[in-house]
């Protein structure tokens, strides 16, 4: 707790207060929103999911106790509603990630950056998916194609890269809200509208800004938590 508050700068105290006042539900909601809006799979929030699971389990037991002990049904139903909301967030978060894995499984498996973003269970899931899809495609289609065209990953053996592997489209446009001031960013020399300073190629957001952005240049800002997707 902030017993040594005299040693901290105003900004640190502000950050700390935001940290302790942001509930796990808030954090989970933000993770869920980010995951839904982002074209690629984001790092797995292991600690957050673990904490959320524990809290949910605790609450499930409490609600069961209420039901058995004949506690005031109004209060029991309110706790149940809160429980339902938290469960929905957790489940939807995990489901959105699974959807993305199913869509891009070969790409995720190939690229270490993405593979490191999965949880252990998700890695197992990806492995099984790849095995099953590979087997299915081979049995139904690939074994019947001419010899040079039988790979799951390449169109034909003369392809230089794995061109049958879909990749996430990082140039999609997303809507983002600024939580903390971002660094000034170059936008790859693409044209800029009159809404911001065109003297230099910088684009910068301050807390409270709402913008439509191309995803790729803002990946790091999203990972560091400076912006969140809406």
């Amino acid at each position: 707790m902030a017993s040594g508050a005299g040693d901290w700068s105003a900004e640190q105290i502000d950050d700390y207060e935001t940290l302790i006042s942001t509930t796990d539900v808030e954090l989970l909601k933000r993770a869920w929103r980010n995951e839904k809006a982002s074209p690629e799979i984001l790092p797995f929030e292991e600690a957050l999911v673990k904490r959320a699971k524990e809290q949910i389990q605790l609450m499930e037991e409490t609600v069961d106790d209420f039901a058995e002990s004949g506690h005031d049904p109004l209060i029991a139903s309110l706790y149940q509603m809160d429980l339902d909301r938290a469960q929905f967030l957790l489940r939807s978060y995990l489901r959105v990630r699974l959807q993305k894995i199913e869509k891009f499984m070969f790409h995720i498996w190939k690229m270490d950056t993405y593979r490191n973003r999965l949880s252990i269970e998700e890695e197992k899931f990806t492995e099984r998916c790849i095995r099953d899809i590979g087997k299915h495609l081979e049995e139904t289609v690939l074994s019947k194609l001419p010899d040079n065209y039988r790979s799951v990953l390449k169109q034909s053996i003369i392809s230089e890269e794995d061109d049958m592997v879909p990749e996430p489209q990082l140039d999609t446009f997303i809507v983002a809200k600024c939580e903390r001031a971002t660094r000034p960013l170059y936008l790859d020399g693409s044209r800029q509208s009159a809404s911001f300073d065109s003297r230099n190629d910088h684009f910068q957001m301050v807390p409270g800004d709402l913008c439509i952005l191309r995803y790729r240049p803002f990946q790091e800002e999203l990972m560091s938590g400076n912006i969140s997707l809406v």
Binding site: T23, D24, V25, E26, K29, R33, K36, A37, A52, Q55, I56, M59, L74, I75, S77, L78, Y79, M81, D82, L83, R85, A86, F88, D171, T172, F173, I174, V175, L187, D188, S190, R191, Q192, S193, S195, F196, F203, D209, L210, C211, I212, L213, R214, P217, V230
Partner: protein, 209 residues
């Protein structure tokens, strides 16, 4: 919206947007006594009769449905404030008036469940509908001004409005980006992509409105 080639629904369903809005805090006046509630999402209460208390919107609606409280409409939902906002929206062509991010969802939930707690309900509802119409119309007209940018600031837009325009604007900006930067598309022939890159630096013709 017209112009979409596939019936692509928006990223978040309307229910999900409402779900996010339901965590917003709102003031209630309970008519009974209740012990503090220790939820996963936070601690609320204790509740005493006639003593106002701040709770999330979903909790307020739940209590209201069971006849346990009255909901106090938020400050911004007064006829006076909304009339001012509506005038502001009509006057300024490019800018949006300041409204809570979830104003659409909050007002809808209150109209559905706490009708009698809102003074001049019909007036408030018609003002909000007018405000929504003006804003959406403004968004549609300002879309014509986008021309090949990588980032656009949209201050003061609300959650529901963002969700509605997201598919169209996202794909439109993406198409602009793709056409402005053909070298980003993997091209086997290096020579031709170098030529297109040079052509890009010329000033662009202004799109006709």
């Amino acid at each position: 919206m017209a112009g979409q080639s596939d019936p692509h629904i928006s990223l978040f369903s309307a229910e999900e947007v409402e779900f996010m809005a339901e965590d917003e805090l709102i003031e209630i006046v309970p008519n009974m006594r209740m012990d503090p509630l220790n939820f996963i999402c936070g601690d609320f209460g204790p509740f005493l009769p006639q003593i106002a208390s701040q709770v999330p919107l979903w909790l307020a609606v739940a209590l209201k449905k069971r006849g346990k409280c009255a909901i106090r409409p938020p400050q911004w939902m007064s006829v006076e404030n909304l009339t001012r906002v509506l005038e502001g929206e009509r006057e300024s062509q490019g800018a949006f008036q300041v409204l809570p991010f979830h104003y659409v969802e909050i007002s809808r939930l209150l109209f559905d469940h706490a009708r009698e707690d809102i003074p001049d309900m019909y007036m408030v509802r018609s003002l909000i509908e007018d405000i929504r119409d003006v804003r959406i119309h403004k968004v549609e007209t300002s879309l014509e001004k986008f021309s090949g940018t990588s980032a656009v600031k949209i201050p003061n837009l609300s959650a529901m409005e963002v969700n509605i325009i997201r598919p169209f604007v996202g794909r439109a900006l993406q198409a602009f980006y793709k056409h402005d930067n053909p070298e980003k598309i993997p091209d086997v022939d290096r020579a031709s992509s170098a030529q297109t890159r040079a052509a890009n630096n010329e000033p662009r013709r202004q799109l006709r409105r």
